[in-house]
Amino acid sequence: MTGRAYCVVSAGESRSFSSNDPFVLQATMSASIVVIVGTAASSIFRDVLSRRPKLVLVELDQQLLGEITGECGGEEGGAILGFSRFRLGSGAASQLIELVVQPRTLQNARRDAIALFESAGFQVATCLDRPGRILDRLVRPYFNSALERLDDGLASAEDIDRAVKLGLGFKRGPIEWLDETGLAHHGAVSDALSELLGDPYYKPGRRARVAMRKSSE
């Protein structure tokens, strides 16, 4: 059981928690901490705020927290934070919660959010409200370069994966990750980041583009 009472308000399908996830099952019917999950969080956000909760945690997929709360010249913040339970494509959800803060996020709100997730057994990494947060920012260019180098004949897919596992201590190689979690999904996330960041290294690799086209047939 978590040490803090919270309620979960659902607005569509959640990438972080299934309906029988312990985090959802341990929620109460109403509480001063409200966790909004689902892809349509923005549609119920104002309604949740009207109940004057102490803390609101909004699940984010690829969107930014500012798209839901609005931004105000660097003064945005308060007791509304974003979060995302990291998962790659169709892979299993990890135990990592990326907690998204804004410039004026209240310190006690941040502390409470961290405590809530940690008491539910998650590891929390806090970051600013930026496209891709932490992990997507790091892994998407890495995956794209692995796809490009595979095309270039740097080494076989198996050897690229084996090298990074044996030589760098990575749990999985990049090609393995993409095979397991979906090349097309990677392509979609990377494409979105490429547009938001304007950085060419986020442009999906050829193999990801092929997978995206094939999946849209």
């Binding site: 990592l96 890495y142 090298a163 990074v164």
Partner: protein
């Protein structure tokens, strides 16, 4: 050829080449990498001689070898008899001529084209024409080093991971002129020594550095841009991706000054913006925040606090 994973030949056409037999291995450079490679070779049943111009480094290598082998016995990695044979097979010298009858010479000297090519030129004068030369470079072109060595056909890249005596992976890289005989001999050496060879193309950074340097730089840029603090980034990478170490912990371990040198080498070779040293990295090096070696980098090792905290 000794067994191992199936892989394509260097030359796909032409008559089958004869095999080269390696029984004596020379290692040039008695630093951290040279020490590890020498242990690998001696443990793999090869007569091994290490050359260095620095007598102090040679003495340290001898002492470190005894310490490492004794620890291997305690950890039951080697029997006492195997350990004794390993130490018997290992010698060190400051006379380059002692490498003249080696079948395979692996250079592990300072990561500079001029330094390496100078050593290789000297070796080419004293070693048998059929002896194979290998470079442990992680940043330089094997084809260019091979050309500088004067024996391009008998030249191959053997990039060991640090610490070589523990890490099993070796990136085996043929240059444009490397013969099948030389490549196969180097591959067989790795297998017989208990290493895991992986064939890579001769491009900057091979596999490991090509991927890890920009990954680490991207993590440094997240700190630079204030997106997240080092512990958050490392926690995210370890928890979300299952990496053994976070990128900033890794840079602290490698040394921030070393990361700058690697960035400079790779940026020059690739003109890839991701390889360029981030501004924050250079600032931290200027401030002597070099990582573990100076007691402070992205983390403060005196107080366990993170950079900026």
């Amino acid at each position: 050829m000794t067994g191992g994973k199936a892989r394509p030949s260097v030359h796909q056409t032409g008559a089958p080449a004869a095999e080269a037999t390696v029984s004596k291995v020379g290692v040039v450079g008695a630093g951290t990498m040279g020490f590890g490679i020498a242990i690998v070779a001696a443990r793999g049943d090869y007569q091994t001689v290490v050359y260095d111009t620095d007598g102090g480094r040679i003495e340290r290598l001898k002492q470190d070898a005894v310490t490492f082998i004794e620890k291997s016995i305690k950890l039951q990695k080697l029997t006492s008899a195997e350990a004794a044979r390993c130490l018997d097979r290992l010698s060190a010298t400051s006379e380059l001529g002692m490498l003249s009858d080696c079948d395979l010479v692996i250079e592990a000297v300072f990561e500079s084209f001029d330094v390496k090519s100078n050593v290789l030129t000297q070796l080419n004068k004293i070693c048998r024409p059929d002896a194979i030369f290998a470079s442990n470079t992680s940043t330089l072109s094997i084809t260019q080093l091979a050309a500088a060595s004067g024996r391009a056909a008998n030249f191959v890249g053997l990039h060991f991971c640090l610490p070589a005596q523990i890490m099993k992976l070796v990136e085996v890289t043929p240059g444009m002129q490397t013969s099948t005989v030389a490549f196969d001999a180097a591959w067989a050496f790795c297998i017989k020594s208990g290493q895991i060879p992986i064939r890579t193309k001769d491009t900057p950074g091979f596999i490991l550095n090509y991927f890890v340097i920009p990954f680490n730089n991207a993590a440094i840029r997240l700190v630079e841009q204030g997106v997240a603090e080092p512990p958050d980034i490392d926690t995210a990478v370890k928890t979300g991706l299952g990496h053994a170490l976070g990128p900033l912990e890794l840079v602290d371990m490698v040394g921030l000054d070393t990361q700058v040198l690697l960035c400079e080498a790779f940026y020059q070779a690739t003109l890839d913006a991701r390889m360029a040293a981030p501004h924050l990295l250079r600032q931290m090096v200027a401030a002597n925040r070099l990582g573990r070696k100076s007691g402070r980098g992205f983390y403060d090792y005196a107080s366990s606090r993170a950079f900026g905290a």
